[in-house]
Symmetry: C2
Subunit: 172 residues, 2 copies
């Protein structure tokens, strides 16, 4: 299974493709799509649209995991994050990928399973699950890989725990 | 000159293509792209991306006029308006169109030339400049046509007035 995590942004859009197989998890490709703040916005969005289309067309992920952003989080960048996430969702749906969204808080909570983890704990989870020598940099890349891993590794485990709890009559 | 006005939205995205020639202004085509709220968001954005691409590819406007939205305006729909506007801007830039953005207040102000006009005044301007028997409906269509007309008809006139004022030493 291939999952592509996308941390949407116009200036910097992080992405990370993770493969899960019998041996575990592997980072296939990861990076940041950047567009220069000195250029007009429409051209930057066109660049992002083209690069996201190429990325998804080239790697054909089974699932695309896009961070769900609430505009309240950062008033200044809300509109451009909305624009970038709209492109990512539209391109992924056009390519026929399954699409899942998690908030940053859901990614953080999924690491510990019960509450909010720190940014550093999330980065260490990424490093650990992908057997990397160091935390991926820049942070946009680590965030994108965390989204993919959250979906592949953590979310199913939590679902199983929830099912087991329900089956044994445990409380939620 | 052909100007395509776009009033961005995911549920309802209004568009109106206006031609300016020696005889005046003419509405070439206008309508609303709708996507069903019952469907998942990524598929709706993919539909919007496809229909905007078709619309712009088919009519090849010289300039695309997209309403500039500030997320503060409507907290509830801010993210989806951002997503829709991002698609419109990216598609227009990809097609090589000139792109201009006005806020709703700029459109309203441009009608009277000095202050805020009412929604009804804007709609009457649309009806009058396009020689229509009635105000275009639904409002999304009138808003999109108003954006195109604001750019074609009103903005240049205001610029000439400003130039004349500067040339005669008039105050701004």
């Amino acid at each position: 299974v291939f999952a592509l995590g996308i941390d949407p942004g116009v200036s910097r859009c992080g992405y990370g493709l993770v493969e899960r197989d019998a041996a575990g998890y592997r980072a296939v490709v990861a990076g940041v799509i950047t567009t220069p703040p000195t250029e007009p916005l429409p051209g930057r969005l066109a660049t992002l649209l083209r690069e996201l289309t190429e990325l998804i067309g080239q790697h054909r992920p089974d699932v695309v995991v896009v961070e769900r952003v609430f505009f309240q989080t950062n008033v200044r960048t809300a509109m451009s994050v909305g624009q970038a996430s709209g492109l990512a969702l539209a391109v992924a749906a056009t390519a026929g990928c399954q699409i899942v969204q998690y908030t940053a808080n859901e990614v953080k909570a999924s690491v510990t399973g019960y509450g909010a983890a720190s940014k550093e704990q999330v980065q260490r989870m990424v490093q650990s699950l992908l057997s990397l020598a160091a935390v991926p940099k820049p942070p946009d890349v680590a965030d994108a890989l965390a989204l993919a891993l959250c979906h592949l590794a953590v979310a199913p485990r939590l679902a199983r725990i929830a099912e087991a709890g329900a089956a044994t009559g445990g409380s939620r």
